[in-house]
């Protein structure tokens, strides 16, 4: 909502007849100008905008800074193309027009549409830039149209000499299907350093996306902006919710895959990858892992209440799987208290060892198993005890 007086410098040279931007360079420029005017006047009712042309017989001020949008738009109507653009004179006269603005409290800004080749030297442009900076005038440059060697460099140099605290911007727009105005909407030229014009920009973006004469949701944002905004927000919320549901479904699908795959390695890989995915979603982690286990054990209809028991029957012979589950459990327990029940169960030394000894094909004396048990949280003491017990056993 910065209080600003803006002068727009329009390029109406012969180069604007070209059709590489549809329908013609001049038309897209006119559209962009009207969009900018609208954005500025909407972001703050006291903002004023003026227009001047840089080509033709000479630089001509069509409108001095005014808040009357109609007057500004009518100036763009019926403009003739011809001659060569005089960038330096255009900017200097724009600065003069801003100097004589009625409300001296307004910040000064110049927006230049540079569509034709620049005949000035880089040095000259830098001097102009310094003069603007000295008088605290910000400059926005829209580089489009004719692509000439050195044009971007000259414009960048001009921007660098004017720029004070990122108040000035440059946008390079190559020819493409998208209209110039669409490209500009997302740039700081419109958004005004990230605030203010964004509301207007969003409404026009919605309008543009919906088509030329069609508006999103059948509501004209200009007539009823609040309704349009409310509809758009609810649509986005719905979309976000659907995405979250879809993501969950995808994760379930991947964990199903994991259950059916017999190879331990890919299992653990899947488990770890799902585990890392779920680091960001600790609340669902447990449920999904339990479901995965249930599926791998071919037990239908698992839910979180029965999950504890199922989780502790660390089913398969797959020690790697158990280890992977262990890791994911540990990750989960770091972030929330929900899996604490399960980790407590897992951490219960005697329970775990009894479970593991009941598993077919798992030898409690197997070093792998011992390592697994050793890695359980807070079990080192009892583990050591157990080791000592077992060692004399073995030695016997």
């Amino acid at each position: 909502m910065v209080l600003e007086a803006t002068m727009i410098c329009v390029d109406n040279s012969e180069w604007m007849r070209n059709g590489d931007y549809s329908p013609s360079r001049f038309q897209v420029q006119a559209d962009a100008v009207s969009l900018v005017c609208g954005a500025k006047t909407q972001s703050n009712p006291e903002n004023t905008v003026g227009i001047l042309t840089m080509a033709g017989k000479g630089v001509r001020v069509l409108a001095t800074p005014t808040s009357d949008l109609g007057k500004i738009l009518s100036c763009m109507h019926g403009l003739e193309m011809g001659g060569e653009m005089n960038l330096a004179a255009g900017i200097l006269i724009a600065q003069l027009a801003l100097k004589h603005r009625q409300n001296k409290n307004q910040q000064q800004r110049i927006i230049v549409f540079a569509g034709s080749p620049i005949k000035h030297e880089k040095k000259a442009l830098e001097i102009i830039g310094k003069k603007l900076k000295k008088n605290s005038v910000a400059l926005d440059i829209v580089d489009f149209g004719e692509e000439e060697d050195g044009k971007p460099e000259k414009l960048e140099a001009l921007l660098a000499s004017v720029n004070n605290n990122d108040a000035s911007h440059i946008v390079h727009v190559p020819p493409s299907q998208n209209a110039l105005s669409d490209v500009l909407i997302s740039t700081p030229v419109f958004t005004g350093d990230g605030e203010g014009g964004s509301g207007f920009a969003a409404t026009t973006a919605a309008a543009a996306a919906g088509g030329v004469s069609d508006f999103d949701f059948g509501v004209d944002p200009n007539i009823d902006p609040e309704l349009a905004l409310a509809l758009r927000v609810s649509m986005e919320e719905e979309r976000a919710r659907q995405e979250a549901a879809a993501k969950k479904a995808a994760e379930e699908a991947s964990s199903q895959e994991k259950g059916e795959d017999a190879q331990p390695q890919s299992d653990s890989q899947n488990a770890t990858s799902t585990a890392t995915e779920k680091v960001s979603d600790p609340m669902d982690e447990d449920d999904l892992l339990k479901e995965a286990l249930a599926l791998s054990m071919n037990i239908p209809g698992s839910d979180s209440s029965a999950g504890d028991a199922q989780m502790s029957e660390a089913s398969n012979d797959d020690q790697e799987l158990a280890l992977a589950l262990q890791m994911s459990m540990q990750d989960g327990s770091k972030e929330s208290s929900a899996p604490s029940d399960v980790s407590k169960v897992l951490g219960d030394q005697s329970f775990m060892s009894s479970i593991i000894s009941s598993l077919p094909g798992v030898d409690p004396n197997d070093p792998n198993v011992k390592n697994l048990l050793a890695s359980l949280p807070g079990q080192s003491e009892s583990q050591q005890k157990k080791d000592e017990d077992e060692k004399p056993k073995d030695e016997k």
Partner: protein, 177 residues
């Protein structure tokens, strides 16, 4: 003699006009973004020798200081380094929104050329007649001592006295009986 006079004048009835500056309207053109006017004007900052007001694109600075009430300006102190401190300083009274382009359009109320003594803190007495009715002060620093690209000002202090003026904020509504 002159110095003794000015020194005693400061003691007599001159106050530091810092309290009467209307901070919401203070402006400075061509200041560098890391080194703002506050470094030279504000209490505390201006005493710090490391904090300076510096110019940006070239060596000139244009400072606009409005006051909350009408004041009489007696003298000013401009402190800076020997090379990069200001040299020629032009003062304009009661002119709003001046720009670099119109500083030469009307004559200044006073022109001060700062000597190295002044830069160390010796106050400069201004022309009495021209500064009796000051609502706002514009300080135009035209160049610096050594002619370098950047002018650095360490402190700007204004000394003077106030004129009896109604403080609009102090006016209270009379209770109706």
């Amino acid at each position: 003699m002159a110095t003794a006079e000015s020194a005693s004048a400061i003691q007599r009835n001159q106050v530091d006009l810092l309290d009467f500056i209307d901070w919401s309207g203070v402006e400075c053109l061509n200041q560098s973004s890391g080194h703002l006017l506050a470094n030279a004007l504000k209490q505390g900052y201006r005493e710090d020798e490391g904090l300076n007001l510096e110019s940006d694109a070239d060596e000139q600075l244009l400072i606009y200081i409005p006051f909350t009430q009408v004041v009489k300006l007696h003298s000013i102190v401009v402190k800076g380094s020997e090379e990069e401190g200001p040299k020629t300083v032009k003062l304009f009274t009661n002119r709003q929104h001046m720009g670099f382009s119109n500083v030469n359009d009307f004559p200044p109320s006073d022109t001060v050329v700062l000597s190295p003594d002044n830069l160390k803190g010796k106050p400069v007495v201004v022309k009495y007649v021209k500064f009796q009715n000051v609502r706002s002060l514009t300080i135009f620093i035209e160049d610096n001592q050594s002619g370098s690209e950047i002018t650095k000002v360490q402190k700007i202090a204004l000394y003077g006295s106030t004129v009896e003026t109604t403080d609009m904020k102090g006016l209270k509504k009379i209770e109706e009986h």
